[in-house]
Each structure stands twice: as C-alpha cells, then as structure tokens.
C-alpha cells in the first residue's frame, strides 16, 4: 500500500509544478506556498518509496480497501495546504475544498476574488482526482470492491487481476486517453474564445466532470454560445466509456463504439431530456427556441455528466426541469467515465429486471436472465447491482439527514446532498441557491466523508468496517 501511495504522491508532486510555474511567472506571493508544499511532498514521497520497497506482486483485499480510502485523505492533506497557506480558507474549509476537488464533486468555497493560482490549483486537483478515479476503476476497484456491473462495460479480454504489473499497463492506457481528451478540450475552449490559461482550467474541470461555480463567467454570457458548445461537446465525450476510446482509437473502428449498448441508451436519454426541456422552456416563455435548445442541452449534459456547470438563470426554471436535471445527476454517465451517479448500465439492468418481474407474476417459477448487448447478466452481478442501488439510496438519505442537523430545511438539504453525493457539485440548489460555506464545520467534515464514500461506491466503507471488526475480534 505504501508503494502505491508513493506513486500517487509522485504524480501529485509533478502536478504541483504547474501552479508553481504560473505563480513565478505572475510574480505572485502564493508561489512560496506552492514551493513549500512541493518540498514537503518530495520529502514524504521519498519516505514512502523507502518504506514501500516491497516485493509484493499481489494486492490483498485489506491493502486495497485501506488504499482506496486513505488515498484521498493523503492527497487532500497536501492539496489543502496551498489553500490554507494563502489565507483564503480556514482549515476545515481548505480540507473540504481539496476533497471536493479530488472527488470531482466541485463544490467550491473559494471566494470569487481569490487569486488565479488558487483557482488553477483547484482545477489541477480536480483533474488529478478524475484521473485517480479512472485508474482505480480499472485496477483496484473491481478486485477489491466487487464488480457492480463493471465487467458489463468491458468486453471479454479485459481481465482484472490483483497483480501489480498488469495494473500499471491498463492505468497507463487510461491516463493516455484522459490526457488526450483534456488536450482536445483545451483546444475547443481556445477556439471558443477563452484565454489560454482559463481554457486550460476549463478543460481540466470539464474533463474531470468537476465543474462548480462559474467564477470566470465562461458560460451564460449573452451573445457568445461557443464556450457552452465546447463544454457540451466535451462533456458528451467524457460521459462515454474512456477505456473503450482506447480500443476504438487503436482499431479506428468508430462503429464498434456506437454499437455499445450503454452509450446508445445514454445518448437516447440526453436527446429525450434535452428535447423535453427545450420544449418546456420555450413553452413557458423563458427563452426563444435557439437559446432554449442551447441552454437545455448544455445543462442536460452538465448534470448528466455530474459536472455541475449551471448558469445563473437556472434558478428560475420550472420545477419539472430542475427535478429532471437532478435525476439525471443520479443516473450519471456510462461505466468507465469519471462521472458520478449510479451509472447508466446499472439502470439498464435494473429496468430490464422490472420487465422480467412483471412476467414473473404470471409465471412464478420462471428462470430468466437479463441480456445487455450480447451478454447475459449473471445472477451474481444482478444481486450486486440491486444491493448497490439500495445502498446508494440509503446512504444518500443518511447524508440528507446529517445535513438537516445543521438546521436547514429538507429541500435545501436534498439539493446539497445530491450535489455532494453524486459528485455533481453545482452551486444551484433544489430550492434556490445553497451554499456549503455557511455550514458548521462538523457538517463540512461529514460532507467530505460522504463525498469520498460515494466516489468509492460506498462498499469500500462497509468492507473496511467489517474488516476492522474482524481485526478487533482477532486481537481479543
């Protein structure tokens, strides 16, 4: 586990160089903070490498679970130091900000007038977080957490082993595609008219599906629909199965990609909801037709990809559209993307199960399987997906209750909980704007916990608890 942490720290250290360079370029005093953090990280990474010089070729479940959960806090610690050091945020707020970025949620506590380097660091953290999630998705998560429909998204020939070498191989592929997408997005944003550094920031935030407060007024500026289009297109791409892009790219076979069941359902969903919202907004007279089209699809994609960009006028939209947007966040994108939510493929299986269930009332002794694409889904996976759904809803509701403890009303709590739990991170609430800034510190900490748990598909937490109980009992 130390070994893996060491590698992760190394990557993060490298990413510190970007804001560091920027600070020196701009001559900002925050550069000192970044330098300090850089040196600190270098020391710890070296320590980790020495400690973690391990001959293990195999990752045990215990190691895996511990890594999954501790990883975030380790990175969050270093991630929050710049925020803290520059005096922009208090301790709790800094931790929250770091965790929020790393889990690609995107709820931000930074004041609007914070220095550019802070915003930049935030987007770097977010980008790292997205990448980390993807890497974990194909390496540790399936082995440790159990395949909650994961194997459905990847064809035969993809094996998830607990060996470290093949893990490196797949993770490099993921990183490659991810970086490629980011560069492509950067290009799009530059073409849309954003200044270079801001375009970089935007692309990092979009590709990692972090999003958050639109502090630089990129979107919703009248007369310039291009950034929104760039964002929408990027988000559409990002919702797909990232690893599949690698295969498609290598084989130059685009039809193969489209043939994937999940992505088709996702596209159908986007079209349907986008279309409905376009009609609804136009019908209620909020926008004319083309604006309606633009804003609907932008927001549908923003919420479906759990990015969470929202223009300020959305608060006035009719309740139906808001409800749909938040529902979309629950669904999320395809398996294998950095989005949050429950993922499309799981819903596909669940709905097909419902069809079977209706038939089952008439034929109680029927034996039947759900078929997705060309593969039938085994009982074990069905069981996992069903239990995951329950767990997700239950944990979500728990989160709402915890938030309510701070004294806010239930509707506000639900809005904030959705934002945190599905890694949506929008500043828009169900009942108007909500803000995590005013939450008491203990709630911020709980928020962090829930964000990490949700990202790690909740089961990791249960596993850890169960394993710990086992340890305690053994020691007795």
């Amino acid at each position: 586990m130390m070994y893996l942490l060491g590698k992760a720290s190394l990557v993060m250290m490298a990413s510190l160089l970007l804001p560091l360079a920027y600070c020196f370029y701009e001559g900002s005093p925050d550069g000192m903070v970044f330098l300090f953090v850089f040196l600190l990280m270098a020391a710890s990474t070296a320590a980790l490498h020495v400690e973690g010089k391990v001959n293990k070729r195999h990752l045990s479940i215990k190691d895996g679970v511990q890594f999954l959960l501790l990883f975030w806090w380790w990175l969050a610690f270093f991630g929050m130091l710049p925020f803290l050091g520059s005096g922009q945020l208090s301790l709790m707020a800094a931790i929250f900000e770091a965790v929020s970025a790393l889990t690609t949620t995107g709820v931000t506590l930074l004041p609007v007038d914070a220095p550019f380097s802070m915003w930049l660091w935030r987007s770097v953290l977010a980008w790292l977080g997205g990448m980390a999630f993807l890497v974990m998705l194909v390496t540790i998560l399936p082995h440790v957490n159990g395949c909650f429909g994961l194997t459905l998204a990847f064809r035969r020939g993809m094996s998830f082993s607990s060996m470290l070498k093949p893990m490196e191989h797949t993770s490099l592929q993921m990183i490659g595609v991810y970086s490629g997408l980011t560069l492509f997005s950067w290009l799009l944003y530059v073409l849309a008219g954003l200044p270079l550094m801001e375009a970089l920031m935007a692309s990092m935030l979009t590709v990692s599906t972090t999003g958050g407060k639109d502090a630089f007024d990129w979107f919703g500026v009248d007369g310039n629909p291009l950034p929104e289009c760039a964002a929408a297109f990027t988000m559409l791409l990002v919702c797909g199965n990232i690893l599949r892009y690698w295969r498609t790219f290598r084989r130059r076979d685009f039809r193969d990609y489209y043939g994937n069941y999940e992505i088709r359902i996702f596209l159908a969903m986007v079209l349907f909801f986008g279309g409905f919202m376009t009609w609804n907004l136009w019908y209620h007279g909020i926008y004319d037709f083309f604006s309606s089209l633009l804003h609907s699809f932008f927001h549908v994609l923003s919420f479906a990809s759990t990015t969470g960009f929202a223009t300020s006028q959305v608060g006035q939209w009719p309740d139906t559209t808001l409800f749909f947007l938040f529902l979309l966040a629950f669904v999320g994108g395809c398996m294998g993307s950095p989005t949050g939510g429950i993922k499309v493929i799981r819903f596909v299986v669940l709905f097909k199960l419902m069809g079977l269930e209706v038939r089952r009332t008439l034929h109680p002794h029927m034996v039947a399987h759900v078929i997705v694409g060309q593969n039938s889904v085994s009982q074990k996976i069905v069981e996992r997906i069903l239990s995951f759904f329950f767990l997700y809803v239950a944990a979500f509701f728990l989160f709402v209750l915890v938030l309510c403890l701070s004294g806010i009303s239930m509707s506000e709590a639900v809005g904030m909980a959705i934002a945190g739990f599905t890694s949506l991170g929008t500043s828009l609430g169900l009942a108007g704007k909500t803000s995590f800034t005013e939450m008491p510190d203990i709630i911020k900490v709980m928020g962090c916990l829930f964000m990490v748990f949700a990202r790690m598909e909740i089961f990791a937490v249960l596993l850890l608890i169960q394993l710990s109980f086992g340890e305690i009992r053994k020691r007795w």
Binding site: I61, L362, F389, V393, C404, A413, L430, A431, F459
Partner: protein
C-alpha cells in the same frame, strides 16, 4: 383465462358489497336521513343488479371442477378491488356532495387504507356517509379478498393465488393449512381488535358513533376522521395514548396474532420484524424529541406527547394528526419521511415498503459484504427464526427498485401538473405508502382536495399500486395477461 370463473366470483363479491351497505342504510333509517336512506337503498339495488348480470355471465362455472390459476387469482383480486372501489363511490355520488372524480378518489383512498380525503368539510355530511367512509377503510384494511373468503363457502383449489395476490410482504406464507381457515382466523382477530378499540375509545370519552368510526379507521390504519381537524379536536392525552397503542398493534402482522392466539404471546416477542419495528419507533421518537427540543425549544414532555403520537401514526401509515408537523425542523421531517417510506410490518393493515423488507435489504448488503471478504462463505439470512432463500432477498431488492421508480414517476406527473417540488415528492411517498398526509400543499391535514384532476386520477392508480404491491397491478395491464389461451 377463465372468464366464467371470474364473473361468478365477482358476482358474489358484489352481493357481499350490497350486504356491507346494510349497516349505513340502517343508520340512515335510524337517524331519519331521507337523502341517506334513499341513497344507500339505491346503491344496494345496483349491487344486486350487477351481481345478477355477472351471475348470468358466469353461468357455466362449476365450483367443484374449476381450478383457480395464478392469472385468475390476480384478475379476481385486481378486478374485485376495482369493482369495490366503483361500488364504494356510488353512495358519495348519489348524495351529491362531491364531483364524480372526487367520489372515486375518496373510495379508493378508503379501500387502499390511504386515508387522504378530498372532502373539504366533513362535518356537514350525514352520518350514514361518514360510517360508510370508515367502513370502506376497514374492509380494505384487512383485504377485500380475505374478508370475502372468510365469510363465504369454500373456493376450490387455487384460492391461494387470490390470497397471495392481495397479501402484503416479501414472503406470503400462511399459518393454517386451509386457506379458508386462515382467512376466517384473520377476520376474527380483526373484528376482535376493532371492537376492543371502539370500547376503549368510548371509555376515553368519545361518543359511540365517533368511537366506532375512529376504531374502524385506526385498526385499518386508514386515517379517516369524522372531524375536519382530525384528532386534534379532542386534545385528550389519554385518548392519544390509547390510539398509539392500537395503531402500533395494527401495524403488527395479523398472521402473527393468529399464531400467538394459538401458541401463546411469546410468539410476538420472538418475531424479528415486530421487534425491529418497535425498536425503530423508540429510536425515531428519541431522535425527534431531542431535535424538537434543540431546534424549536419544545419541552421534553410536550415533545414526547406529540412525537410519540406522530411517530406511531406515521409509521403505522394511519396518519392521524394532532399537530401541524409541517412546522417541525428539517431533521424531524426527514425522519418522518423515512418512517413513511418504511411503513409497518408485513401482513398488517399498514402500507409502506414494510419493515421485513427493510430488514432483508440490510441482510442482503451484509451478505454481499461477507462474500467479498470470505469468498467461500455461504451466507444464510434468517428472519423470524426461518432461513430466507437468496431468491427472496433478490426479489425484495427488485421490489425496492420498482417502488422508487413508481414514486419518481408519480412525482414527475404531479410536477408536470404544476405542483411544487417538495410537495410532489412527499405526496408521492405518502400515496404509494398508503399514508395520506404529506408536507406542504396538503400539509398535515391530509387532504387531496387541492390537487388538479390528472394528479388525482394518477393518485388513485398509485394508491392501487401501493395496496396491491405494484406488480400485481402492472400484470393486469399487460395484454399477455388477458389472452384466452394459456400460452405457457
């Protein structure tokens, strides 16, 4: 699909409905209500006519040789409920106080045990109508089919399918070998508890009419009151305590009471589900009392009085109200919402997802976690001392998903109809769970009166779905269901 059989059964049911109308008729005559008497007489006549028509249709039915299959069982249950709801709305319709849609909603609300009323002013209604209202709740509480089977002669093989189609809960088991004996036992316990309840209410100071109506409504966990302000009118702590007692009793499995009657009361304490339920009530009460004290400054004793009452009321899905809990802080409302969702025990008159399902879902998660850590382990879920097969666990999880989807669908329909977000969501939860009131628009006073027509109609459908546990009703809508020839 044996239509003769269905027709014959429905005809007998219609006759039974006519018989049930005798009570309000009697009351109408006793109180010399001209409108009421004519009203109920007319409805009884209609029941007789319908019965006759169906009997003609089902002439070829021969009880000894006919076998009831799954489909017929479901059809009878579904259509029987529909028919009763329609017949049940006629008294309201003829009395002229409500629009046709409202009458139907009131009827369905009664039979499904929801208890949400569309009537704006209860106190001007004649007594016979009020009695009928409470009767619909009472009949629907235990179940039309159960009562039917208890009173009438032997059905023949396969009556089990009807029983199963109507009863609630993940495992539909029974205590006595013969279905009819089962039904009779359940019915007797039901009548006994209701009578006791009415007696106790009278002792607490209610008038006999009031006590009867409220008892009928309590044990059925429906929630109809005969006063506009509900129970708040009384402001009688002793009464509230008695109500709490009976509401909690009514949300225990009646089948469990049948067994307890024969084997002794330790059965009740050994029942995992009921124990979990009681524990949930205790924890919820504690949490809310503390929250009310901290956030609203409500004194502990006062808080306890209101909290205990509402926790019992909501989790039993009765929904009598003594305090407008819309004013309560978010945390308390959240807990109440959770209780609404979970409901009471399986095999009771309450609605909701059912406690046994929640227990099984938690056990499902546990089994998955265990299997991950110890891949060789064989995990056996146990409840009430019996092993629950994996298949049941998975079917419970499927039901959970379906339940959530229906709620979301209903919320969307209401949103499209113009109802604000939080109201739509809470109403969806409350309707499917057969509770009645919600937060916001209808407030704690449980009236659907302000809903637009489409939502009202959809609410009826959802109330059906809630009472008959979703899949039974959906099956009725598939064309495959109705085909004459049995495919497979």
């Amino acid at each position: 699909m044996n239509f003769n059989l269905i027709a014959a059964v429905l005809s007998t049911m219609s006759l039974t409905a006519g018989a049930a109308l005798a009570a309000p008729l009697f009351l109408a005559v006793y109180y010399r209500e001209p409108v009421g008497s004519a009203d109920f007489l007319l409805v009884m006549l209609i029941c007789l006519i319908i019965s006759y028509e169906f009997r003609l249709r089902g002439r070829k039915f021969n009880p000894e040789t006919t076998v009831l299959n799954v489909r017929e069982g479901i059809a009878i249950t579904g259509l029987g409920w529909l028919m009763m709801s329609v017949l049940g709305m006629l008294p309201y319709l003829f009395s002229g106080y409500m629009t046709p849609l409202d009458c139907f909603v009131e009827s369905v609300s009664g039979f499904s045990g929801t208890g949400a009323t569309v009537i704006e002013d209860l106190e001007i209604l004649p007594r016979s109508i009020l009695l009928w209202r409470s009767l619909t709740a009472w009949i629907g509480g235990l179940g039309i089919i159960v009562i039917f089977m208890a009173i009438l002669p032997q059905m023949g093989r396969g009556a089990m399918y009807m029983f199963r189609a109507e009863s609630s809960g993940p495992t539909k088991d029974r205590q006595l070998p013969k279905i009819r004996d089962n039904a009779k036992a359940l019915f007797l316990i039901y009548v006994a508890i209701t009578s006791l309840c009415a007696l106790v209410y009278m002792l607490c100071g209610m008038s006999w009419f009031s006590a009867l109506n409220h008892a009928l409504s309590t044990v059925a966990t429906g929630g109809f009151s005969i006063y506009n302000d509900g129970i708040a009118v009384y402001d009688n702590p002793a009464l509230e305590i008695c109500m709490i007692f009976f509401m909690v009793i009514s949300s225990g499995s009646f089948a469990m009471y049948v067994v307890a009657w024969r084997k002794g009361s330790q059965v009740i304490w050994q029942n995992t589900e009921f124990r979990t339920y009681l524990m949930l009530l205790a924890v919820a009460t504690m949490l809310i009392v503390v929250d009310l004290w901290v956030e609203m400054g409500m004194g502990i004793l006062e808080g306890l009085r209101y909290t205990a009452f509402h926790v019992a009321s909501i989790s039993s899905t009765t929904a009598f109200v003594t305090y407008d809990f819309d004013a309560w802080p978010g945390f308390s409302k959240g807990i109440l919402l959770l209780l609404m969702f979970m409901g009471g025990c399986a095999g009771s008159t309450s609605g909701g997802l059912k406690i046994s399902r929640m227990v099984l879902l938690v056990k499902l998660i546990q089994s998955v976690v265990w299997q991950k850590i110890h891949p060789q382990i064989v995990y056996r879920a146990k409840m009430n001392g019996r092993v629950i097969p994996d298949e049941v666990l998975i079917s419970v999880a499927r039901f959970f998903f379906a339940y959530m989807m229906v709620e979301i669908l209903f919320a969307v329909v209401m949103l499209l109809d113009g109802i604000p977000l939080m109201e739509a969501v809470s109403m969806a939860v409350s309707t499917l769970g057969s509770i009645g009131p919600g937060f916001g628009l209808e407030g704690a006073l449980s009236t659907y009166a302000l809903l637009p027509p489409v939502s009202k109609a959809f609410a009826c459908l959802v109330m059906f779905l809630g009472r008959l546990e979703i899949f039974t009703v959906i099956a009725l809508f598939t064309p495959e269901f109705w085909s004459r020839r049995k495919g497979w």
